[in-house]
């Protein structure tokens, strides 16, 4: 009977579909699981076993060591100090760049003037230039300003090079807001800032969340600026992690490396798990419209 063969066919293709999807889920999960397993094993178990074997005798020792004892170069205080450095750098830079981007996006979408489109284009190019081309002048400038090797310098750098992105996000989102809203507000006598505060900002919820997540993830995960512009006391956690993994004195403690890697990744993973839905919703709302 044609009907059942069709059903069987359908069942088979559904099964295949799920198989492919779950295989890829395993592929994406594998590195995280492998890291988690390794971080709870002691060294002898790592040498004896293999990477997909769950820890037989779980221990928290690698985590403790990574947090407060492991060597990141000549210092051996773990990554805890650098973990907090990352927060001190990231939070102000995220807030500053997101706020400036919002008002920029508002101007570039609802208060266009002669040359504003050209400027937006110049800013867009600024998003995507290889940072190599500005690294050295930035280092010199930070030196002149007396903030090289400092947290303040890193906040400044992240804010400056975050603005093109945040502006792009808000601008694309605001382009979608009906222009009538703005003209109506103008008719009612609302000026530039009043319209922004009373009309535009209350409608910006999704794009604010998206921008905050994007900026937090990017700045927390930064390595390039961190490795070049930080001093011994202002290193972000990514730089400390890389130093820890590449410190070559003594026995290579893979379990400590893995624990440190997870600690460094934890804040962005938490942000992602808590607000992943917003991330996707925002993608649809703003960033996708080129």
């Amino acid at each position: 009977m044609p009907d059942t063969s069709l059903n069987l066919n359908r069942l088979f293709s559904r099964g295949l579909l799920y198989l492919v999807l779950l295989t890829f889920a395993a592929y994406f999960l594998m590195p995280l699981l492998v890291m988690l397993f390794a971080s709870f094993k002691d060294l002898s178990e790592i040498r004896a076993g293999n990477l997909v074997m769950p820890p037989l005798d779980p221990t928290l020792e690698p985590w403790r060591k990574a947090w407060s004892e492991a060597c990141t170069g000549i210092e051996c205080n773990g990554i805890k100090g650098y973990f907090w450095n990352s927060f001190v750098i990231t939070i102000p830079a995220v807030i500053l760049s997101s706020a400036i981007g919002a008002i920029n996006g508002y101007v570039l979408s609802k208060w266009r003037f002669k040359g504003s489109e050209l400027f937006f284009f110049c800013l867009l190019v600024g998003c995507f230039i290889p940072f190599q081309a500005v690294l050295l002048p930035m280092a010199q400038t930070l030196g002149w300003m007396g903030i090289s090797n400092s947290v303040v310098g890193l906040i400044l750098v992240h804010t400056i090079y975050g603005i093109p992105f945040t502006t792009l996000f808000y601008r694309n989102y605001y382009v979608g807001l009906p222009t009538e809203l703005i003209s109506a507000a103008k008719l009612d006598g609302a000026g530039f800032f009043t319209t922004f505060w009373r009309i535009v900002l209350p409608l910006s919820g999704p794009i604010i969340v998206v921008t905050l997540i994007w900026q937090f993830t990017n700045i927390w995960n930064d390595f390039l600026f961190g490795v070049i512009y930080s001093g011994p006391d202002s290193k972000p956690v990514t730089v400390a992690l890389n130093n820890l993994v590449n410190t070559s004195t003594g026995v290579k403690e893979y379990n400590v490396d893995m624990a440190a890697a997870i600690i460094a990744a934890l804040p962005t993973i938490i942000v992602y798990v808590v607000s992943g839905k917003y991330f996707l919703r925002g993608l649809m709302a703003g960033a996708v419209k080129g």
Binding site: I100, F113, F121, G126, P130, I160, L224
Partner: protein, 311 residues
């Protein structure tokens, strides 16, 4: 007083006496608000690029100086095997990474769009690597690809003793390990963008095509994917941006090695400028890289920008 300013007066701010001033202020405000960003962009992006370009024509070594030597740094640069390796690596890496991530991301999105149970959970798993630092990704894959403790050992333990996977320490293959890790990181992101796009496609178009007897494969290939052109544009831009930033990944995964076999222009520039005290050569490499990217990116950005504006 003409009628126009009278009207403006009554509309703008009835309580303010000097309406001419506030009106002018209102028209200047947008420019005023944008001006710090304009200034910052001019100085910290365009000014710094020019500054780097100037340095690339000088004798600068440990510290910048302004003794001009013409094109000497560029000549030196292009004579270096290390630079040739860095560039060809970037092309291999960018083409494979962007190509595979887009194809894989599209496939996963199309598969996930078939009314899958647990779609949310699967989506979350596919996308989470995007939240990780490339340094973390590099550290994880360095461990997995390490022949002594990673996949190779796993296969040996499972009884496949002839299995060999030494790309990480093989100079001919090391750049491909960077591709593997980068694709792992970014495919889920492309999937999420594509899925968002697929959900935005008007269902009636698909139904109409189905009524005409078109197969699902044909509908995707001929109708749905072409509609998503703007999303491919965004994905391409974001992926090329990631490719430029893959400096972190190379440093954490292979540190450019073995030797300089997995060097990229970004790691080359970093080495020469900040570790080897050859600022002249380092900035010259940065300028060449920049010109390469601009040659690809600007026409693309410009055409898309115009396209969306006139659409």
């Amino acid at each position: 007083m003409n009628t126009k300013s009278l009207r403006a007066k009554s509309l703008d701010s009835p309580e303010t006496g000097d309406s001419g001033f506030t009106e002018r202020l209102q028209s200047w405000l947008p420019k005023l608000v944008l001006s710090p960003t304009i200034l910052i962009t001019l100085v910290f992006v365009y000014g710094f690029i020019i500054w780097s370009a100037v340095l690339s024509f000088t004798k600068s070594r440990l510290l910048p100086n302004y003794d001009f030597v013409g094109l000497a740094n560029y000549e030196k640069l292009f004579a270096m095997d290390r630079w040739q390796v860095a560039w060809s690596n970037l092309i291999i890496f960018a083409v494979l990474f962007i190509g595979v991530a887009i194809v894989l991301g599209t496939l996963l999105a199309v598969f996930l769009d078939q009314k899958i149970r647990m779609e949310g959970a699967i989506r979350t798993i596919y996308l989470y690597p995007m939240a990780l630092s490339l340094i973390v990704t590099g550290t994880a894959w360095k461990w997995i690809l390490n022949p002594d403790i990673g996949i190779e050992k796993l296969m040996h333990d499972l009884g496949w003793t002839s299995f060999q996977f030494d790309w990480l320490i093989n100079p001919d293959m090391s750049i491909y390990t960077v591709v593997i890790a980068a694709v792992w990181q970014a495919s889920g992101f492309v999937m999420a963008m594509m899925l968002a796009g697929l959900r935005g496609v008007d269902g009636s178009i698909i139904q109409a095509a189905q009524l005409d007897g078109a197969s699902m494969l044909k509908i995707y290939w001929r109708i749905i994917l072409p509609i998503m052109r703007p999303i491919y544009f965004s994905a391409f831009i974001i992926l090329s941006h990631l490719a430029i930033k893959s400096f972190d990944l190379v440093l954490a995964l292979t540190a450019g090695g073995p030797g300089y076999s997995s060097e990229l222009p970004a790691t080359f520039m970093y080495q020469f400028t900040f570790s080897r005290s050859q600022i002249g050569v380092g900035t010259a490499s940065a300028i060449i890289t920049l010109m390469g990217f601009l040659a690809i990116l600007v026409p693309y950005l410009y055409s898309e920008h115009r396209g969306t504006r006139h659409a």
